[in-house]
Every structure is written in C-alpha cells, then in structure tokens.
C-alpha cells in the first residue's frame, strides 16, 4: 500500500533546518580537515553545558548513544532495576535493557504524560539503581517529587532530555536537574546536528570521567586532547612512550565529529528563538482548537517552561472519530501527517519477549488510545496553522 503524500508533517519539510550560518560553519571546519572530536566538539560541549547550567558536557553520536553511556556510567548492570516510562521512544528503555538490567515501567500522569512520581515510588525496590525519566514532549517532569524518591535511597536520576533542550523547571534548565542529562540532536528535534547527534550533561566530575572514558573505548593516552582519559604520570611516567595507549574497560566509539559540532554551535545560538516560536505556535493551536467537544488540549504545569517539541491533543470519548479514524482522515483526507507519540514500549515484540505484558501501566494505555501529535516546528507558517486547525474543526463538525 502506498502512503499518501502529506502537505504538513513533523519532519524537515517547509524549508531547511539550516541557514547560511551553518553552511559557513561547515566550510570553516572543512578547511581545518574536519576532525572527529576536535576543537569544535570541545567548544560545543562547553557552550551546551554552560547553556544548561552544568560544568560538564560530552558530545556523542546520538541521543540513543548518550542514553547507553549514561546508564552504563551510572553503574547499572545485570541484577539491577531501572524505572522508566512506557511512553517514550524505545531507545530510553533499550539503554537499560542492553546492560542486562531489568526495565521497570512506572505509570504516567494523565495530564502531562510524564512519569507519575507516586507510581515511581510504588516500583522502588532495593534493586533500583536509577530512574530514567523523560521530559516528554518538551515539558519537564515533576523533579522535586522524583528527587524526593531518589535521593534518600541513593538512586540516580537520569534525564532523557531528547525533547526538552531549553525547557525549564523552577528556574533551572533540563539537563541540570538530575545526575545526568541526555539530549538528542536528531533531525526532528528542537535543534539538530546534521540529522544525528547528542549531548550528555552532568555536574558530577566522577560521572563525567566515566562517561568520557566509555565514549572513547575507555582509552588512556599521554596526549588525551579532551577525547581520552590521561594517564596519571606520577604513577605511570611516559618516558619515551608518547604513543602508548591503554584501555581501562570495554568502551565504545560514540564520538561526535567537528562538522556536527560546528553546526551544533550555530543551532544552539538559535535554540531559544526557535523554542519561543514553538511556544507561540502551541498557543495559536490552543487558541484555535479550544471548545471542540471531546478534544483535550495540552496542559502546562506551573513553574515550568514547556518547549513543545510535540503538541499533543487527546481525543476523548465525545469526539466524533476514534484515534485511528481521525489520524487516517487527517493524513489521507487532509494531507496532514499527524502522529502518535508513542505506543507503550512494553507492547513491542522486543519487550513482550522480555516478559512484559499489557496492563502494566493502565493510565499510559488509556492515554495512548487518545493522544495524537499535531505537526509543530518553527517553520510552520500562518497558512499551515490555519489549514491544520480549520481541518480539525471541520472533522469535529465544530463551528469555525
């Protein structure tokens, strides 16, 4: 079956993510041989960490890679449990499962779809090593309550900030709220580094050292250049062996390139303006879609800045169409590619084969039957917003 061609979708149509600034930045790097993990990566790491309010940043190849490193750096392994949300991209849970630890799904708050702290608390056991939370759709989780659960038990908090660069919780940016923050610069995200990329942030020097090691094969060198760990020359003097390398453990190569980082630096400078535009579009959607019976619109918690990576609506029972019929009518009939973020992770074949089964998180399942994401990105123009909201009103048989 061939797919309809959409006029409006979530991805990178309607103009490029990049402008002349990015093109110039790329050319500059090309002229300096475009190294992997060179000075641009270092500059990007420092700038991004400072933006988040953290002392340490570590650029990686993707958000997925960042999550794997974060979970490993937290010391998670077989026999441990990590609590996470079922409403997320599968990478979040995979990062846990790949270590051999058990993925424990906690239920969600029906208002924000973020982890419900009370459900998290009910899942804590003596095996719980970390909570891997997701600031879903760009809205920060209730961090005070998650902290209140984690801190007394020595449980690490890892923030999956893939949707939420620049989002703020009680005056502090995501990525600085827990022990480790992980960002994604995939092409659909609020900022991007040539289609893929990621960043890890932390304020803990020991965690940073572990992350740094794992990103580059746990390699030690006498000239580490910010890429590797250095040797302790007091214990292991270099002598003439400037070329000598050693490897502390089994690590990975998840290093970002300088070309990506150069683009990342430019995109970071644009991030606040783009987030502001997303917030503006969200307000416009809310204004135009209010009052449609059965159509629930997003709610933003007090004390947070929601950066609307995704604008989600809920089709409640009084809405005239089911989620499936509405989505298909929008896509095939109106050429607007709406989406569903996300199917509960444990419903996938991969997680059912690990022993998970439907019914683990009833609120998540109930919300999944209702939520639909509308296209949102900074390049959506007034015509697009008008076309989209008008069509939804028409479908709902509401008055324009």
């Amino acid at each position: 079956m061939s797919l309809p061609k959409a006029l409006y979708e979530l991805e990178f149509k309607h103009g490029s993510n990049y402008g002349d600034e990015e093109a110039k930045a790329i050319l500059d790097v090309l002229k300096s041989s475009a190294p992997s993990c060179g000075p641009k990566v270092k500059a990007f790491e420092e700038a991004f960490a400072a933006y988040c309010g953290c002392p340490y940043g570590l650029a990686v190849t993707s958000g997925t890679a960042g999550l794997h490193l974060a979970v490993m750096a937290a010391g998670v392994g077989p026999g441990d449990e990590v609590i996470t949300t079922p409403i997320t991209w599968i990478s979040t849970a995979n990062a846990i499962a790949a270590t051999g630890a058990s993925v424990v799904f906690a239920d969600i708050d029906p208002r924000t779809l973020n982890l419900d702290p009370e459900s998290v608390a009910s899942k804590v056991t003596e095996k719980t090593k970390a909570i891997l939370l997701v600031h879903l759709y760009g809205q920060p989780c209730d961090m005070d309550l998650l902290m209140a659960i984690a801190r007394p038990h020595g449980i690490l908090l890892i923030e999956d900030c893939a949707h939420a660069p620049g989002a703020v919780y009680k005056g502090r940016k995501t990525g600085s709220l827990g022990d480790i923050g992980v960002f994604s610069f995939h092409q659909q995200k609020n900022m991007t580094t040539l289609g893929e990329g990621g960043m890890i942030t932390t304020s803990d020097s020991q965690l940073f050292e572990r992350l740094l090691a794992l990103r580059s094969l746990a390699c030690r060198a006498y000239d580490p250049k910010g890429k590797y760990l250095g040797f302790d020359e007091a214990r292991q003097p270099m002598g003439k062996k400037y070329w000598f390398l050693d490897f502390d453990s089994i690590g990975y190569n998840f290093r970002m390139t300088d070309v990506q980082a150069a683009v990342g630096l430019v995109q970071l400078a644009k991030l606040d303006a783009w987030n502001a535009r997303r917030i503006e579009i969200a307000a416009e959607y809310t204004d135009r879609l209010s009052g449609i019976p059965g159509l629930r619109l997003p709610w933003t918690a007090p004390d947070v800045k929601h950066v609307f990576h995704i604008y989600c609506v809920w089709l409640e029972p009084e809405f005239p169409l089911t989620k499936e019929d509405f989505m298909w009518e929008m896509y095939a009939g109106r050429k607007i590619k709406v989406w569903s973020h996300y199917t509960p992770v444990y419903a996938s074949k991969a997680y059912r084969s690990l022993g998970h089964e439907p019914g683990e998180c009833p609120v998540a399942e109930k919300m999944f039957r209702q939520f639909v994401s509308l296209p949102i990105h900074p390049r959506l123009n007034p015509e697009a917003i008008d076309y989209l909201t008008r069509n939804i009103r028409e479908i709902a048989h509401a008055q324009i």
């Binding site: 608390a121 009910s122 209730d142 005070d144 209140a148 709610w299 809920w314």
Partner: protein, 312 residues
C-alpha cells in the same frame, strides 16, 4: 512561660482532624483521640465514643480545657444502611462526650451539618427550622438537641461541604476521591442539582480554633462561602485548576437510586460567625482555590512516602 491550654481532638484521624491538629500545633497543647490511634505516639489515645468509660478515661488522661468532637459516621449512605450504628456513634457518642465535658468543666465544639435541613429553600440561618431528610441528618440534629441540653455552653458548627485534601487515602475527603480518580485517568460524576456553599478545611479548622478561644461563643454557627454552587461546578473548577479536563466531571441531574436522600440547596448563611470574628470566607471560587493549595508538594510527598513505606 504560660502553659498552653489543652485541646482534645476526638476523631483526629479524619481529614478535618488532621488539619485541625496542624493548625493547633503552635498555640495548643493538644491530644488526639480516635478509634484506631497509634498508641505509641505521644498524646494519642484510642477511644470509642460509644463507650462512656473509654471517654471518661481519656478525659482523665488529657484533662482538656477544650474538646473538639469530630468523631462521627459521616458517610451519609452508610448511615442510611446502618442506622443503628449511626445513632450509636453520632448521638450516643456525642452525648457521652458532652457529659464528660460537663463533669470536667471542659468546653465542647461539635461539628454538625447542613443535612439537618431539607434544602428546599435558599439560605439557612442558625435559627431556621431543621427538617432532615436522611438518617445522617436526623442523627446530627438529635445530637445537637441533646448536647445543648446537657451542656448549654457547647458550640455547634454546621457546614455544607468541607473541601480539602487528606494525606491519608481512607478519609471521606471528597477532593481526595476526585483527584485519585482523575489521576488514574477516570472521570467523576457530580450533581448539577445539589447546591452547596463549601468551606475549605483549613479555614474551618481556623474557625473552630477561634471559637475554642472565644470564651463567650456558644450555640450554633454556620460556616461556608458567600454563595452556593452545584457539586458539578465545584468539581469542574477543581479539575481545570489542577490541569485535568472539565470533561472528566460527568454532570448528574438525578441522584442514583441507592444514594441516601440529600437536600438540593444547602446554602448556610454564615453572617453570625462573620459578625463575631470578622472573618471573610469568600465565595465558592475562592474556597475551591484555597482548598487546592493543599494539593502541593507536601501532600504529594506524603503519598509518595506512603508508597515507599508500603514497599518496605
């Protein structure tokens, strides 16, 4: 340093009791008594109000200056199903406490209800004729009569709907029930025809303590907002203020058949209280807003703590 007066809260494990204890902490030396108290806790007494000796023993231990009697079967439908129990606790129990107060010279504050009225007119004053429709209302009215006879100085506080949150899940706090339901993604039914002028639990606790400290206060006092709204309107305001959709309140024009009869318009005029204490309770909107302030981190933290404790 002056010794603080001793306050005995009977029925202290309910949600009003919990808030009253919190409010009383700074200026009262208080004891909490109830059927299932944690006896290991200091100044916490297990007491069965239907047992006069148990009441007497508690008075001997606590030696209260003021007693606030909250203990009651306040589930209106349960009272209808179990009228004997309702009578024992709500009437005989109240009388046991009043008699103990009379013997020890303690003042008594008793919480009663708008259910003593039939709700057929708009606006009830303290001296309006009661006409209860339910077993619960009849027990409260009977208790009021007997208390006034046994202890003329007794203070009776009537309210139509108390809004607030309890840190415990097994109380009759309606907001807890609503929030739990919404939290699970479920709607709640609420009447569009039953009108109430609510009071938030903290204000009610403050009013009770103010009456306790006022030596000349006696008789009946109504407490409630300056206007009445339907339960449905109140629930909708609470839902939207907390970020849940108003559609999660299901309007009910008729009462389910298994429900005890309730008056339609329970608007208690609170002028007497306001004249004496110059307190402004505000309108229903303000009362709902105040009651939701309780749903802050502290009550959520308490919920989380309970979950963690359950996990051991």
């Amino acid at each position: 340093m002056d010794k603080k007066p001793v306050l005995l809260i009977i029925g202290g494990r309910g949600f009003l009791g919990e808030h009253l204890a919190k409010e009383a902490a700074s200026s009262w030396d208080f004891w909490v008594a109830g059927r299932w108290m944690d006896s290991a806790r200091k100044k916490s007494v297990t007491l069965d109000v239907t047992d006069a000796q148990s009441v007497q023993r508690t008075f001997v231990r606590a030696r209260p200056d003021v007693v606030v009697l909250l203990a009651a079967i306040s589930d209106i439908d349960r009272c209808e199903r179990e009228p004997d129990l309702a009578w024992d606790v709500n009437v005989k129990g109240a009388l046991n406490v009043a008699e103990a107060c009379a013997r020890t010279g303690s003042r008594l504050i008793f919480t009663s209800s708008a259910a003593v009225f039939d709700g057929k007119k708009h606006g009830y004053r303290e001296d309006d004729s009661p006409n209860p429709l339910s077993v619960y209302g009849r027990t409260k009215l009977e208790a009021e009569f007997r208390l006034a006879a046994a202890l003329p100085s007794a203070v009776i506080v009537r309210s139509a709907l108390v809004l607030g949150l309890s840190s415990r899940k097994d109380t009759n706090a309606v907001l807890n029930r609503w929030v739990e339901s919404w939290h699970a993604g479920n709607p709640v039914p609420a009447s569009t025809v039953e009108y109430r002028n609510p009071v938030d639990v903290r204000t009610l606790a403050k009013v009770i303590l103010a009456l306790a400290q006022h030596p000349e206060a006696s008789g009946i006092y109504h407490v409630g907002a300056s206007d009445a709204k339907s339960r449905c309107e109140i629930a909708c305001q609470a839902a939207t203020a907390l970020g849940y959709p108003a559609s999660w309140v299901l309007p009910q024009a008729a009462s389910p058949p298994d429900r005890a009869p309730r008056g339609l318009d329970h608007f208690l005029v609170a002028e007497r209280l306001q004249k004496i204490f110059k307190v402004s309770i505000g309108d229903t909107h303000e009362v709902v807003r105040r009651s939701l302030r309780e749903l802050t981190e502290s009550s959520l933290r308490a919920g989380i703590q309970a979950r963690l404790e359950l996990r051991g």
